[in-house]
């Protein structure tokens, strides 16, 4: 199971900060999110940043996930 941590408006609108998903890639993670969260992520998909153990991956990434990774889902931000 992959640990998925939700941040910012995605967390706020979804009312939940952490979910576990049985998935082998980022694209599968996004596909298997609980439907309410999936809808929210879908709404912001153009602006979503996926970070897997520090590595930024594209929302369609098929990179294999072992299952012990943490996937963080943010809305894009930057600067200092």
């Amino acid at each position: 199971m992959v640990l998925v941590r939700l941040h910012g408006v995605i967390k706020e609108e979804g009312g939940i900060g952490v979910v576990n998903v049985d998935a082998k890639s980022v694209s599968e993670v996004l596909h298997k999110l609980p439907s309410r969260i999936k809808d929210i992520v879908g709404k912001y998909i153009k602006y979503v940043v996926i970070v897997v153990d520090g590595e930024i991956l594209h929302v369609n990434s098929e990179k294999y996930l072992e299952g012990d990774e943490a996937v963080d889902i943010f809305l894009v931000a930057g600067g200092g």
Binding site: G8, V51, I56, V76, G78, G79, G80
Partner: protein, 647 residues
């Protein structure tokens, strides 16, 4: 013909004689140096020299606006101050938002130049053409909020006020200036310069407007900006991240990529980051506001309603403050961090430098480098919020070990000795900002080359931060894009930082906000050109090449300011922690910053000699900086491209 946008007037104030005079802003200077930071560089180059001590009456404080300030251009409410910095001894500048900058323009000035030293505490009250030297003994010693309240209650609530606190009066080397309560001119100790001049505050009220060359065309461009801000591709994320949560929104994201400075920058990842994140701070927010003419509205006011820190009300804390006073000290009590932020603002201390001198002491204590006798009962242990709070007070009033820390981390390490220098994280004397070049490689060259020392606001690049490929292709071409976007690679970071530094030199001179230019990367040189010509009527400003040249001129002039002070390439490095200690934990684990290749590339694109760090003579000539070249050649033998110079 006098260009529009500018007032065409500079106010010169002599505090020693308590006299003032207004002189015209020469059009040729505006064309070459734009305004704001560029104008300040021109003025300070000509008015200062290497023999002037930063805290002497001979130092000069420039308060400057840009042509866009107060003219309804988006995010153009900012202004800046510049001087020789007491913490670094070199170029110092700091910027703030709010409404003070536009008010200077409305009072009829592009800049205010302050020289001398008053024989007693004084404030400057500027009402259009009238300048009053307001005796301020009754304000001396007061915190920034109380002093601001008294000025507004006595002289009118429509004034805008910049004021120092006790830290500036006591000439703490990293003292800040607070503007209209909640905005800070934080970095490089500009508050100490005011303190050294016995200048408590400057209050401004203006009744004029800003004239525009071509109102129809200017309005059209402004409307386009507004469209981009509200409906463009970056509008929604800017509002939902930066607008909704403010800069604290960055805490969780930076932690996720391993770039959250933790424990005096020992590492870039902290398990407790969520406790000081944007989401955690949201419940303390009581107000959300904007600067003049800004739609992002990232300014949050927070309040702690109960518990130990009840009654705390402060602007921010911003990302840099949260990190410096939070993760950097391992303090995960958000309410304590908010309280410390308030204390810094009331006393007039830069939160970044304050956090970094305290974390330096914490690490020295952990490693047995400071004695119990020096600490006089203090227990500077990681996460100890009571000690951190006590140290903020001791720094402000220069008590005990606080008097050592008040000198800034570089001098403090020299005083303490015993190998503590290694843990003093600074570049050219300025404490490092809240990034980590092991997790974001371009930060290394940004810090090393920044004219004011370790700094994120002269050239921090975001194109590589999360990897914006479209922007990278647009600016650097498809061949370079992948490497540019990789924050963990040193590839092409010299050219990326050079480009960003030029953009920021222009942005800081126009003056616009970094939000919109740094992140989101919406506005680039071309957009600024489209704005400036209808605003000013200066035809050259419609030409991107001219603006890029002006930006390079400004960067070079400031570098030459530092070279005149004897600060050159030998100081362009970063603390060894980042070059030789692999990141111990988190997503960037194992990485170090390999600075030299980036630096070499940066010098190449800057047209400076890699061996000496000096600009080629031709570079200065091509930029129209012959007057600088003549003066520098008294000190250096400037290399020539065909004469042994290397890049």
């Amino acid at each position: 013909m006098q260009p529009k946008g500018y007032t065409g007037r500079i106010l010169f104030i002599d505090l020693t004689k308590q006299k003032y005079v207004v002189k015209p802003l020469e059009v040729s200077i505006a064309k070459q140096f734009i305004g704001g930071s560029g104008l300040a560089a021109y003025l300070l180059w000509n008015m200062l020299n290497e023999n002037v001590h930063p805290l002497s009456p001979d130092n000069v404080l420039v308060v400057a606006t840009g042509p866009a300030t107060g003219a309804l251009a988006p995010s153009a409410g900012r202004f800046m101050v510049a001087s020789k910095s007491p913490i670094t001894g070199i170029w110092g500048e700091s910027h703030a938002g709010g409404f003070f900058g536009p008010e200077i323009k409305y009072a009829g000035y592009d800049a205010i130049v302050i020289t001398g030293r008053s024989s007693e505490p004084v404030s400057l009250i500027i009402n259009d053409d009238e300048v009053t030297f307001y005796r301020s003994q009754h304000l001396w010693g007061l915190d920034t909020r109380t002093a601001t309240n008294i000025i507004l209650d006595s002289l009118g609530r429509d004034l805008h006020v910049m004021v120092i606190g006790p830290a500036g009066e006591n000439m703490v080397k990293f003292a800040s200036i607070m503007v209209d309560y909640y905005r800070a001119l934080g970095r490089t100790g500009m508050g100490a310069v005011m303190g050294s001049k016995n200048l408590k505050a400057i209050a401004v009220r203006g009744s004029r407007g800003v004239e525009v060359h071509n109102p129809d065309e200017f309005t059209k461009v402004v409307e386009e900006f507004l469209y981009i801000n509200t409906r463009g591709p970056w509008a929604l994320p800017a509002q939902l991240s930066l607008g909704k949560y403010g800069t604290p929104n960055l805490v969780s994201l930076m932690n996720a990529i391993g770039r959250l400075p933790t424990k005096n920058h020992w590492t870039g990842y902290w398990e407790h980051a969520d406790k000081i994140s944007g989401e955690a701070l949201l419940k303390y927010r009581i107000s959300r506001g904007s600067c003049f003419s800004c739609m992002i509205m990232c300014k949050h006011i927070t309040m702690v309603g109960g518990g130990k820190y009840a009654g705390t009300v402060t602007g921010g804390p911003e990302y840099e403050s949260l990190v410096s006073l939070g993760s950097n000290l391992l303090i995960d009590n958000a309410e304590a961090v908010i309280y410390m932020n308030q204390l810094c603002n009331l006393y007039g201390l830069d939160t970044i430098s304050t956090g970094k001198v305290i974390s330096f002491l914490f690490e020295c204590y952990e490693r047995g480098l400071v004695s119990e006798e020096e600490l006089r009962g203090l227990k500077p242990t990681w996460g100890n919020e009571e000690t951190a709070i006590e140290l903020i007070k001791m720094i402000t009033y220069r008590q005990g070990i606080g008097n050592v820390l008040a000198e800034g981390v570089a001098r403090a390490a020299r005083i303490i000795g015993r190998g503590s220098e290694y843990y003093a994280l600074h570049v050219k004397g300025l404490e490092v900002s809240a990034q980590d070049p092991r997790a974001h490689k371009s930060v290394g060259v940004t810090w090393a080359t920044s004219v004011r020392g370790a700094d994120h606001l002269r050239s921090l690049t975001t194109v590589d931060e999360l990897g914006y490929r479209d922007i990278a292709i647009e600016r650097f071409g498809a061949e370079m894009a992948n490497e540019v976007c990789n924050r963990l690679s040193e590839g092409y970071k010299g050219v990326v930082v050079k480009d960003q530094e030029d953009l920021f030199a222009l942005v800081d001179s126009v003056i616009m906000c970094k939000y919109g230019t740094m992140w989101p990367p919406m506005y680039y040189f071309d957009f600024i050109a489209r704005l400036l010509y209808p605003l000013t009527g200066i035809e050259e400003f419609s030409n991107v090449k001219h603006l890029r040249e002006a930006a390079e001129r400004i960067v070079n002039l400031k570098r030459c300011f530092n070279l005149r002070e004897g600060i050159g390439k030998e100081y362009e490095t970063i603390p060894k922690r980042f070059t030789s200690e692999p990141m111990p934990t988190g997503p960037a684990k194992g990485h170090v910053c390999n600075l030299e290749p980036m630096l070499k590339e940066y010098y190449l694109y800057r047209r400076w000699d890699y061996n000496t760090g000096l600009p080629y003579g031709e570079t200065l000539e091509e930029l129209g900086l012959n007057f600088v070249l003549v003066e520098l050649e008294k000190r250096y033998s400037l290399p020539r491209r065909g004469n042994g110079g290397s890049s």
